[in-house]
């Protein structure tokens, strides 16, 4: 990153090619992140299962990455496009059930469950998006209606036979890559790592693309976006399709990893909350926010479980953290890191 000589030292060192550091300005959401950052994270993630091959640590890794993945689903529509959703579990559950039903009731290969789940999630996202945005729902009203949609899906899945009703669905344990069940847990780890990498690439693409710029505009000010020629309705629906697809794939992965889903797991409020929490706490609208948030959630969760037997402690901490973040650090922890880094680099001059 070369600093162009005629820029004042106080401003960011971004050059016209756009390879700037997003850390110096409080928030430059449309500048791409440096490659080194991506490669470093990837390297660490790849090395992890070899450094920590125990079952416990691998499970930790899988869950952390899993939450990073589904968190990114929320982040794309909630963080990048500013459409807060309280019912994101709807996409997760749609994908989980679609993939599981395809496998169990129709004998379709579990690997095909991934694209099937993506389509199911996208479909639900599209329907919710079209209905809600047609009606002009925004902000809190949109958040609440997504909650209601998820609840409807929960009740329906609890009542119909194809989903197994309240009993849920069990996937028989048949370890083997062909069944999307891996003999070694590290198999799951690498699968979710690939998925996360794709989601990161997607988020990074959003930062650099016209679509992402338009979403940012919509997030900041819909009227102004419209006045500049952006078809706000269409772009919002598109982002719901994308976000839904990712959520759906997450559901498929979850089903294959735990081999059991039921209406509460698939459509219960808990996942919605977790998807929202990891993104908001990590940093909504940033590429790595969900990952930071997911790591923290996994650490706090495992940490509290290791130290005490108290149920619910980790979420108490998380709920408190959400309140604190909204109040004092609305851009999430990533913003905190950015400010600390900025203070250090200013100190060096």
């Amino acid at each position: 990153m070369s600093a162009t000589p005629d820029r004042s030292p106080a401003s960011a060192q971004s050059n016209p090619k756009g390879e700037g550091s997003p850390m110096n300005t409080p928030r430059s959401p449309l500048l791409p992140l440096p490659w080194m950052l991506h490669l470093t994270v990837l390297a660490i993630a790849l090395a992890y299962p070899f450094v920590f091959p125990s079952s416990f640590m691998l499970n930790f890794g899988v869950l952390a990455l899993f939450y990073a993945f589904i968190g990114q689903s929320w982040n794309i529509s909630g963080g990048f496009a500013g459409q807060l959703s309280f019912g994101h579990v709807a996409f997760f559950g749609a994908g989980a059930y679609a993939a599981t039903i395809a496998q169990m009731r129709f004998g379709i290969s579990p690997w095909l469950g991934l694209p099937i789940a993506a389509m199911a999630g996208a479909l639900v996202g599209g329907i919710i998006g079209v209905l809600s945005f047609r009606a002009g729902l925004k902000g809190s009203y949109f958040a609440l209606i997504t909650l209601a949609f998820a609840e409807v899906l929960r009740i329906v899945s609890n009542s119909v036979t194809i989903t197994g009703g309240g009993l849920g669905m069990l996937i028989p344990m048949k370890p083997g890559a062909a069944n999307l069940q891996f003999v070694e847990r590290s198999g799951f780890y690498f699968l979710i790592l690939v998925l996360v990498a794709i989601s990161i690439a997607l988020a990074e693409w959003l930062r650099r693309s016209k679509f992402g710029a338009q979403l940012a505009a919509i997030r900041e000010n819909e009227d102004a976006a419209k006045a500049l020629g952006i078809n706000v309705f269409r772009e919002k629906v598109k982002v719901m399709l994308l976000s839904g697809a990712i959520g759906g794939v997450g559901g498929c992965f979850f089903a294959q990893y735990f081999l059991y889903i039921d209406p509460l797991i698939a459509f219960g409020v808990d996942k919605s909350v977790e998807m929202l929490l990891v993104s908001m706490i990590g940093g909504a609208g940033t590429v790595y926010g969900p990952m930071v948030g997911a790591l923290l959630l996994a650490l706090v969760s495992d940490g509290t479980r290791a130290l005490t037997q108290i149920q619910g402690l980790s979420l108490v901490l998380y709920g408190a953290l959400l309140v604190i973040i909204i109040a004092y650090l609305p851009n999430g922890l990533i913003d905190l890191f950015a400010r600390i880094k900025a203070r250090f680099s200013r100190g060096r001059h």
Binding site: L131, Y141, E151, V152, G312, V316, A320, I326
Partner: protein
Amino acid sequence: MDSTIIASAAINGLLLGGIYTLVACGLTLIYGVLHIINFAHGSMLMLAMFGVYYLLTLLGIDPYLSMFIMVPAMFLFGYLLYKGLIGRLASGKDENILLVTLGLSILIENLALMFFKGDSRTILVSYSDRMVELGPTLVAMPKLISFAVAMVLCALLGLFMQRTDTGRAIRAVAKERVGARLVGIDVDRIFAISYGIGLATLGAAACLMMPIFYVSPSVGHVFVLVAFTVVVLGGMGSFLGAVVGGLIIGLTESFGGLYLGESLGQIGISVIFILILLFRPSGLFGARQ
């Protein structure tokens, strides 16, 4: 279907609806005055219900009588909570406060999980099983008492809003914040009082709910959606709407269970919520936007 079964469902629905009305009054007051969508409403009700539960099991206080403790306690809790936390964050985007109240609800729910564990609790009082004849059907006495008290409380709340100085001040602030400040109303105090009253209604509702329902840390989720549906159906900020909406939702739940079965029956409320938001977001009596 037998007409007595239908009548029974209708009556039970209305009785339950009366309590929903009370819960919704608090929520709609908070929204009308502070423009806050209090997502923590459900978990606060759960907290209050645990309060009623322990007042009975530890101190032997009858749930209806514990209202004299719960209502002021919840009012104080709400007042302090507003002053200490919510008031500081109330400026800024709508969604921020929604997220803060979401965070609060997560916090409260999991604190309850930590301290009270996950099992459901119910209470038994001497009159729990007494039945009263009401038209063609028999009704559990606590349900009748709860409904009656709820309606009385709603009426009292309405009188308070209409006849007292504080009530008038609250209505003034709800209508026109800046103007209210200009005529000398301490708007911040009114905000805190309103939030306090909103939670106080939950204290009362908890006393009315415990004899006829159960409590567990996760019961807040159920109440949140019901409360929001009532408020949205009736119209945000409208008391009349809360009353009418509460009764309608009570009936919906009752008939939903009757015709669709226990599992699918719950869908009525969510569907109503969705339909209202999509087609008539101002609700029955709310201000047209």
